[in-house]
């Protein structure tokens, strides 16, 4: 790893040699992993514990990825496009994300889950975006790889650092988002809970085992766009009470950051009602 940092102004044979070997090994690893992935369809991202050099290759695509997350979301059904994402959405690769086979009908929602689709089935889904690569890579000989790598080594080193930084930032950002999702969904739970009044008519019966699930759609402002029963409890009184609880909230506490709103799934989520507080009464 240290070798990679060797200044490119001193073409020391030893350093170059080591760097060469290192890079070659890494590329071999990539190819090996790639092929194993290709053939056996390994789906778990965990198997790819790659050394950083791989990330160096990201440079070209980093330009592609960031807009892919927020970009399609903004123009769709948002009354006011947030300024910070407005700068990005001119990038090309949008269609690649949009056309992902997402079973959900709602186009606006596709974004966060499309991302997860990519991660889960990296072998199939991204293919259209980078079409020439699979065939090209498969016919490469080791020698070809070596020479290619050698020529691009210097720029790759610089790019590698940048990519690693970006990856770290990305990771940090993900953690931030994750934390916000947890805290905001807790706030929403409380908002709903405070407005959920179980019908007095149901006191005769034991409703502690009744469960209902509703699907809630929100505007980025947190305003309720739609609510629908997705799983009935079997009691219409109970079902009404859970729909009412959602309607009574009117404006939900959602992340102001549109990226968090999107990625955290606040545009469309489900709420399950289980009256555990009524158990054993």
């Amino acid at each position: 790893m240290l070798l990679m940092k060797t200044p490119d102004t001193s073409p020391d044979n030893f350093a170059v040699g080591l760097a060469f070997i290192g890079t070659a090994l890494v590329h071999l690893l990539i190819v090996a992993l790639l092929f194993s992935n290709w053939h056996f369809g390994t789906r778990s991202p965990k198997s790819f514990e790659l050394p950083e050099p791989i990330r160096a290759e990201l440079v070209s695509i980093e330009a592609i990825t960031p807009p892919s997350a927020p970009a399609p979301a903004v123009p769709q059904s948002l009354p006011k496009p947030p300024p910070k994402t407005a700068a990005k959405p001119t990038q090309e690769p949008k269609p690649a994300v949009i056309e992902k086979p997402e079973p959900k009908a709602e186009p606006g929602v596709a974004t966060p889950s499309a991302t997860s689709t990519t991660a889960e089935s990296s072998a199939d889904t991204p293919a259209p975006a980078t079409e020439p690569s699979p065939q090209g890579e498969q016919v490469l000989s080791d020698e070809d790889l070596f020479s290619n790598l050698l020529s691009g080594l210097e720029e790759e080193e610089a790019a590698f650092d940048q990519a690693r930084q970006q990856a770290q930032q990305r990771q940090q950002r993900d953690q931030e988002i994750q934390q916000q999702v947890v805290s905001y969904s807790g706030a929403i739970r409380e908002q709903i809970s405070q407005r959920w009044s179980r019908p007095a008519e149901l006191r005769l019966m034991d409703i502690s085992r009744l469960q209902a699930t509703v699907t809630v759609e929100l505007l980025p402002t947190g305003e309720l766009l739609a609510v629908a029963l997705s799983n009935s409890s079997g009691s219409s009184s109970y079902d009404q009470s859970v729909l009412r609880a959602i309607e009574r909230v009117r404006r939900f506490t959602v992340p102001e950051d549109v990226e968090v709103f999107q990625a955290g799934g606040f545009r469309r989520f489900t709420v399950t009602f289980k009256p555990e507080d009524l158990m054993n009464l």
């Binding site: 990539i30 992993l33 992935n37 991202p45 790659l50 791989i54 290759e57 990201l58 440079v59 070209s60 695509i61 889950s113 991302t115 997860s116 990519t118 991660a119 889960e120 991204p126 980078t130 020439p132 690569s133 699979p134 090209g136 890579e137 790889l145 290619n148 990305r170 990771q171 993900d174 988002i177 969904s185 739970r189 809970s193 407005r195 959920w196 009044s197 019908p199 007095a200 008519e201 006191r203 005769l204 019966m205 034991d206 219409s236 009184s237 009470s241 009412r244 009574r248 990625a263 799934g265 606040f266 989520f269 709420v271 399950t272 009602f273 289980k274 009256p275 555990e276 507080d277 009524l278």
Partner: protein, 433 residues
């Protein structure tokens, strides 16, 4: 070319590693706050000169409050008092935390008649959900208010309202010397407009309604005997069905109107009998040396529940009329008695004694699970409203027996004295058409 391909591939791998995996968001709510429903009943606009004998909006408000599940908004705190739809601004009512809004307009319409337009709005959903436009007689204001209450209650809760039903009860007061005056009275579900339908100088107990609400049955002491009487409420005519000596009590009509179950101790201990209106004959259902009493029919008239001390202490049993089979229903608590079916037959409501305290409990007839609803200090038996959401008791206030309405979460929502002394044994009617 090759290199680019390699970069792209590696980038794809990186993408797989570095991008977060977002799951769909699911929020689980495990708690609720069973609060009252806020409703604003705006004072109705009356275009006539003379004040009306009844204020419909007050009757509606009182009806809703008595259920224990509504919290009305004081008119003084209303930002506006609209009486037409154009004057309704949902936002204002939301600011006041209201969920529902009632407005109304009344105008004179010929001789002693009124044209009324009443509307109910769902403030949360921004929509009108009821609009009633009707011409009524001035003397019908109270009935109109009760049927509006029924309509509103059903629209809001999904449960049929009980405001147009009636309550029968017995009153007792001193009539000079050792004499006592007993009456059976029938009042609106809010206790108003009570009228006397039967009088006696001897005790009256166990008033009960027929399934169609046209008749009542009760036990009245006659000399040294207790007899069961049946009164037709439209004609006032009274018949006795039991000539047996001894103690007869606890009549219960079958919902189909064919039978009257009752208790007689003519032969030894109190046993359940079944009187058939078609054959004018009684037959004995239980046969043992213990007390069997308080029969009550299932809505399908095919079985009845009763209290028996067969097991040592009072417990609730079920008797199947076709097979004659008896089975015990209650096992929890030291005593269970005075069971009544809910109008849909899915639940029993009964008095449940546990650790020395009386409770009202319900049993789910499908699972046989018992739920304690209300703790009472009352020795009188409650009567359950036909929609199962309220109880009416006779209770002591000061030195007087009064009527008390209790919601199923145990709060006394209303009390009323009688003009004729202590109130005993109220009985809530079935739904009346």
């Amino acid at each position: 070319m090759n290199r680019r391909a390699g970069q792209a591939l590696a980038a794809l791998l990186l993408l797989a590693v570095s991008l977060p995996v977002w799951c769909d968001l699911n929020i689980v709510v495990t708690k609720g706050y069973d609060s009252k429903t806020n409703i604003a009943v705006v004072p109705f606009f009356w275009a006539g000169d003379e004040p009306l004998p009844q204020r419909i909006e007050n009757l509606i408000t009182n009806n809703l409050v008595r259920t224990g599940r509504f919290e009305p908004l004081a008119p003084a705190t209303m930002l506006s008092q609209p009486y037409r739809e154009e004057g309704v601004f949902f936002r204002d009512w939301r600011l006041l935390g209201q969920e529902y809004l009632v407005i109304g307009r009344l105008e004179p319409y010929g001789e002693s008649r009124i044209a009324a337009e009443i509307m109910l709005f769902d403030v949360v959903r921004n929509q009108r959900i009821v609009r009633v436009s009707q011409v009524i007689g001035v003397h019908q204001l109270r009935d109109f208010a009760h049927s509006l209450s029924d309509l509103f209650y059903e629209r809001i809760t999904g449960v049929r309202g009980i405001f147009s039903t009636r309550i029968a009860f017995v009153t007792r007061q001193g009539a000079g010397g050792n004499q006592l005056d007993y009456r059976i009275q029938i009042a609106d579900a809010d206790g108003q407009r009570a009228r006397t339908v039967y009088r006696s100088q001897e005790p009256i107990i166990s008033v009960t309604w027929s399934g169609d609400g046209q008749r009542i049955a009760f036990a009245n002491k006659v000399g040294d005997r207790w007899k069961i009487f049946i009164q037709n409420l439209s004609t006032g005519q009274v018949n006795s069905i039991s000539d047996a000596r001894g103690y007869t009590s606890s009549p219960a009509f079958s919902p189909d109107g064919r039978y009257l179950a009752y208790v007689s101790s003519f032969q030894n201990s109190p046993e359940i009998y079944l009187y058939d209106f078609q054959t004018d004959r009684s037959r004995r259902l239980t046969r043992n040396s213990y007390i069997d009493t308080e029969p009550s029919f299932a809505p399908d008239s095919q079985s009845l529940v009763f209290t028996s001390q067969k097991g040592g202490r009072p417990q609730i049993y079920q008797y199947d009329i076709a097979t004659g089979q008896t089975q015990r229903l209650t096992f929890e608590g030291s005593q269970n008695l005075r069971a009544r079916y809910s109008s849909d037959g899915k639940y029993l409501v009964f008095v449940h004694l546990i650790e020395g305290r009386f409770h009202i409990a319900s049993m789910d007839m499908a699972t046989r699970e018992v739920r304690v609803l209300t703790e009472t200090n009352l020795d009188e038996s409650p009567s359950v409203a036909p929609n199962g959401t309220m109880l009416v008791y006779a209770t002591q206030r000061g030195n007087r027996g009064v009527l008390a309405w209790v919601s199923l979460d145990g709060q006394v929502t209303s009390q009323m004295e009688s003009d004729f002394g202590d109130v005993l044994e109220p009985a809530w009617s079935p739904f009346l058409n």
